[in-house]
């Protein structure tokens, strides 16, 4: 695998606001330790998620940032602003004192980028900012991360963000699952909770996480009730409903409506380590795309996960083998996470019976196939998670026989990035000459607009050559330089517009845009060399994508 900074000593991992993200970074943390056994890893995390860090293996130090305090101080206005500033200043000093040599920012937020710039850490994966406050993404894998989560490109991506993130930290060796410690005390507590429950059934112990971070990503309680009733009444299952205290209002009515001693709620009764232990004890977890889903995966408990509304299974699906992902098929999904939805029709596409039966089946082993009668692929796609030969997580469709158009794009892009960014040996890899003229033969099969993008890239290369000559030749008038620059600007705009117009090309062109944004320095010749590389990358990737796409049937 191609690596930028393979050696690391003092590592800062910034992962401030999300519990799930913290768990999703565990293969990366483990991988860094596997490849650099003597390194020291510090995690910067939001205070409320500090406790999870203590049960994550390989973390040497946890530093927390209290964003609740910060925001409360800012809301107080006046001197509150100064208090918040003072707090941040102390944090910056504390972090500076650590003298990290490598940092990895999991978050794409502007503030973490600014924070890392203040720390002046020499090497970085992920997002940082430059001295003027602009976003900087040096690692191409990190650019792919930003590209893939862009709403325009999500559907064409099949790389799990855990892997993309791992690669942005140059980590090749890694466990093929998330990691978390299950503490003996917590396990004892979980056992006592289960012992207290007066289950009359003796079948599988199934955990259900009904709450989700957004209402639109939360399956309706009545469907949960129906699903649980099937589990309890038809399959002798014992059901525990998990959740944070704030989810009581969702969970309690479900328990009430189930009217069964085989359904209990542990909402608000568990700390994160205790929840971890409880999920470890469960045989399956039925859930949405939630933090507990990642915890269950980390403890080795398989999940039946529903990716509703804005959630997308390929992106943030369970990172481990043999987990079931249910992705509704709907024109508007996966939708924009920032928009509310008053009519989440995607919820109706998943039948409670299917979920219940998949849960039961999974307690018996890996699910290899799902009958189209049970799960209509026009309504819901059922996937099983697995790892490919390069150690990248993927989803295998269980209720479709043939590859559809999206699958073909996803596969082509998957090969492109593994080959081009990762340097992995990929099946059907083409040999691309820098000055090939074979674009018509390679690209005439199919991805609309790809030839146009390639033309632009090659025009760009020619203009860069003109630019370099003009820079060297002192006789060339300034107007000529301006003309070339204007030509390049027009070309760049055209490339970006082609990406918007032909959505399958969005990821390709977005990577180009990020690369242009991250050109460094102000020396004209140096910039010209960097730009040459950027146009060259685009041209090469166009050709590779065309070849991969054409070889997938």
């Amino acid at each position: 695998m191609k690596k930028r900074f393979p050696k690391k000593q003092k590592v800062l991992l910034v992962n401030i606001t999300r519990l799930g993200d913290m768990l999703q970074s565990t293969p990366t943390i483990a991988g860094i330790k596997m490849e650099n056994p003597d390194c020291h890893i510090t995690v910067l995390v939001e205070k409320q998620f500090e406790s999870i860090c203590h049960i994550i293996p390989n973390v040497d130090r946890v530093i927390s940032i209290d964003l609740t305090f910060t925001c409360r101080a800012l809301a107080a206005e006046g001197t509150g602003v100064i208090e918040a500033y003072e707090y941040i200043s102390k944090l910056v000093e504390e972090l500076k004192a650590e003298e990290f040599d490598y940092c990895l920012n999991m978050s794409s937020s502007a503030y973490t980028a600014l924070l890392l710039n203040m720390l002046k850490i020499p090497r970085a994966g992920g997002w940082t900012a430059d001295a003027e406050g602009y976003r900087v993404i040096e690692s191409e894998w990190a650019r792919l991360f930003a590209t893939s989560v862009h709403y325009h490109n999500r559907l064409y991506n099949s790389l799990n963000l855990v892997d993309i993130f791992r690669c942005s930290a140059d980590v090749e060796q890694h466990p093929e699952h998330l990691l978390v410690h299950v503490e003996p005390e917590a396990l004892a507590y979980a056992d006592s909770l289960l012992a207290e429950a007066a289950f009359s059934n003796s079948g599988p112990l199934i955990a259900v996480q009904a709450g989700a971070s957004q209402a639109k990503r939360q399956w309706s309680p009545s469907r949960f009730v129906e699903m649980i009733k099937i589990l309890v009444e038809e399959h002798d299952a014992r059901v525990i409903l998990t959740g944070a205290p704030s989810e009581r209002a969702i969970v309690e009515p479900i328990v009430e409506q189930c009217q069964s001693n085989n359904v209990i709620s542990v909402v608000g009764k568990t700390s994160i380590p205790q929840l971890t232990a409880l999920l470890h004890r469960a045989e399956v977890l039925v859930t949405g795309d939630t933090g507990p889903m990642h915890i269950a995966v980390a403890t080795g408990t398989p999940v039946i996960s529903m990716f509703l509304a804005s959630a997308y299974g390929f992106e943030t699906g369970p990172y481990g083998n043999g987990n079931i992902v249910l992705q509704p098929v709907i024109g508007c999904g996966p939708c924009n996470p920032n928009k509310a939805c008053s009519r989440p029709d995607c919820h109706d596409l998943i039948a409670p019976r299917l979920v219940a039966e998949l849960a039961i089946e999974r307690t018996r082993g890996i699910v290899e196939y799902v009958d189209r009668e049970r799960a209509n692929p026009d309504e819901v796609l059922v996937y099983n998670s697995y790892f490919d030969s390069h150690g990248f997580c993927n989803l295998k469709p269980l209720n479709v026989d043939k590859s559809d158009q999206l699958l073909r794009y996803r596969e082509a892009y998957r090969k492109l990035w593994l080959d081009d960014l990762g340097g992995f040996e990929v099946e059907d890899a083409p040999v691309i000459e820098q000055k090939t003229t074979s674009k018509l033969t390679v690209l005439d099969d199919g991805i609309e607009g790809l030839v146009d993008v390639l033309d632009c890239a090659e025009n760009g290369l020619r203009l860069i050559e003109d630019l370099r000559s003009a820079i060297f030749d002192k006789q060339v008038p300034a107007a000529k330089l301006r003309e070339i620059n204007d030509g390049l600007a027009t070309l760049d705009r055209e490339i970006e517009e082609l990406g918007f117009h032909h959505s399958p090309l969005g990821a390709l062109t977005k990577m180009f845009v990020f690369a242009k944004e991250n050109l460094k320095g102000s020396d004209a010749l140096n910039l010209a060399s960097q730009m040459k590389e950027v146009y060259g990358d685009l041209a090469r990737r166009c050709k590779k994508l065309g070849v991969y796409y054409s070889t997938i049937q």
Partner: protein, 933 residues
Amino acid sequence: MSEKDFSLAVFTTLSERMREDWNRRVRYDYRLWVTNTLTKNAELLDEGERDFAVFKNIAQQTKRGVALEVGCGVGRMLPAAKRVFQSVLGVDISEEAIQKARTLLDSASGISVETSSGFTLENVADNSIDYVWSFASMPHMPTRVFASYLSEIQRVVVPEGLVQLQVFLGEQAPPNEFDTLRMRAYTMSALESACALAGLQVEVFEPITMPLSDCLSELGIEPVVMTCRLSESPKGSIEAIAAALLPDTPELYDAMAPCADFEAWLATHYADRLHSDGDFDRARRALEYVIQNCKTTTVDVSDIMQRLEGLSDKRESPVMSTDVFEQNMACLRDVCPAVYSQLVSFRSADSKRAIRISGSEDGPVLWSGKTCLDHPQKPIRAAEAWVKRTYSEEAVQKSSRIIVVGFGAGYHIEALLADSSKRVSCIEPDIEVLYAAFCARDLRTVIPRLESLVLYEEQALELDCNDAQLIVRPQAIIVSAEKAEDIQRHFYATRGTQSLHPRIAVLGPLQGGTLSIGEYTTHALQALGQNVRGIDMSGFNDPYMLVSSLIRDEFKQKAARQMYIETLSTFLLESLTERPIDILICMAQAPISPKVLMEFRKRGVITVLWFVEDYLRFTYWKETAQFFDYVFTIQKGVCIEEIRKAGAGRVHYLPTACNPLVHAPVELTDAEKERWGSPLSFVGAGYYNRQQTFASLSHYPLKIWGTEWPTARPFDKLVQESGRRLKPEEYNKIFNATDVNINLHSSTERDGVDPTGDFVNPRTFELASAGAFQLVDERSLLAECFIPGEEIVTFSSVEDLRQKIEYYRERPSERMAIAEKARTRALRDHTYEKRVEQMLEYIYAGSYKRLQDRQGTNPWSQMIEKASFDPELQRQCERASARGADPVLDGIVSEIVTGHGSLTEAEQKLLFLHHVKKQILRMDKGGAGVKNG
């Protein structure tokens, strides 16, 4: 009184002392303690009326039933109060005073006077008085007695009654309780707390001017009228009220503490005045009084004895020494060449000399008329005592520099320099004083040690106020009152500009010419780096005008418009509550109601009116002046007096001006010249005198621009573009495209040129700034702004105008030369920036302390102080405060922009917080970055 209150014995002791002291004082000479007058009782009552005028708008605020004065003395204010109230009662502890009052007031009906116990209003029924006031009385009362009176006032006043007490604001060491003639000062918060405990709520502290005001400001105390209303039942005992006034209420009697200094000072001062008036016998008696009765004073009694002996004029002849002068000048030449040159010129000028030199025990002293500029006998010892007193002041102790106004013979400067910890500068307002001092004394050890020596002769004075205290010697005030006041104004204005960052709002009118003046004022304040917010109300004008299309009856129209103004005022109040201000500048006709102005003042906001209109034509100031702390007028003399009488705090002359960004020479295209140009133009509304004048000029190639012109002949052809309202940019094109611009000030009653016209209209400055040639009618205040005949050409009549039109039409180069001079002068002296600077100078000079105190409570100040751990953050806060941003994070980061050069660490931290806040807000709304669990 409750059980917790002081014992009756304490009050009895204090009141006996007060009664004894005041009886003695009144017996000796009742005029001495209360008045500037020396003989006439009529003048005494006139002064009473003058002083009663500090209590403003009484009639509007309470029923005009029964009024009570606490500490009425000989009753000099009671007749003035009787003109407002049906009946007036005065109480005083001194039987002598009450007896004298009965004689003075004779049998005036409706006025009664009574003696009181000295700490209660025992003869006044509960809930029976509409109005209680007190002047120059409460500060002299022992703190315990003052506390007792607050409680008593609460008892006697009716629920909707009004209480106005003259008090002093300031911080000082608690004086001896037995000192019954003493200017006690309390802090604003102490007075508010004490009143609250007594069941009174303070509405406002109104600064007032009193005799000896200059000395008071030197002492750091400010005379104010404290206006209170009944709030609820008293919440605290007299003891608690006294403790609120002074946390360490002084011991009842401290034998060591001096307690007759002010009395001694007043008596000796009185003696001086009598002596100056040639009344040697009374002067002697006054000095004898000091010796007999002011035994605990620190005033040097032996000195008084000597003055007694020297009451017959034994002043020595002037002692002038050329040698001494030359030696001093040689020393001065290198140190202070500017003053050196001024003194050289002065010596050679043959002017009348008014300063005399006489001898004293310590050396020569200077005299101006009958005032000795040093101590007449022991100038060295007096100077040392003065320095000791000066250095005991906290403000002086905290400063590293002292600026003294008044050089005298230099003894006190010498004494100040003896303490090397402070740098000393001196400003002498009168060159002759310095000249005489240089002739009289060898000052070679003094001159080089001064940080600076300045002769103040003109308006321009550059003061370095940084870490300095200004001390104005009383002698300087006596000899050069105006200049000393100017220096004080400059000092506090400069210091204010450097250290105060008030939040200012400029409130424009709904419509009319003042609209643009409001905008220019806002821009000028911005250009001066002030924290200003312009409030444009012109968008509310259409509904205001629509009233007449809905309602026919004019009276009802007026009422409806008044209601509309009330509504707008409420909007304004809400707006300025959201973003508080310290100074509200209202332009003439700004839509704001008295109620809201009162509310702003109650909140401590300084209210300012720039009345850029003819006070005789627009008389609404009569009702509104009282609600403004400062009124600036475009007229002088009677105008200022009248507006002052109408209750305005301070009134100053401040003419309008030009905005060089708008009123400037412009290049015009041929088409523009065709449209806007003419050999003769006039821009303005069609007032009576203008119609009458321009009708007679209709045979000239004249273009008239503006509204309200008749459509009949000859105006049908003269008035351009249907008499529409023009924009300032359009005026400016007309000015530039016209050979001769006529500027005739409006009059609704006179024909042609108003012979009594005084103020200068904005057009005069605008034309000058545009570099346009104008013929302007004569105005009495014009010559102060432009030199007639040189910088501007005036006409005195229509005939004169005609002749000058004929003359100047033919002489373009003369026109151009004059216009150029006018432009130079306008840009130098008459821009809105200059005017606003002057306006702020007056406000800072008059309200420095108030603004400084407010600044302490301003959120920006608190933020700036709290940010002291990070100088860069502090600078960011200061900048945000100066540009008028809200005291929140967004206010600080609003000008931090990415991509404009490297961000500093402080900028990055602030942006960090900004993005955190944004993201968390998004998360709270269930938006992006949603938590996964």
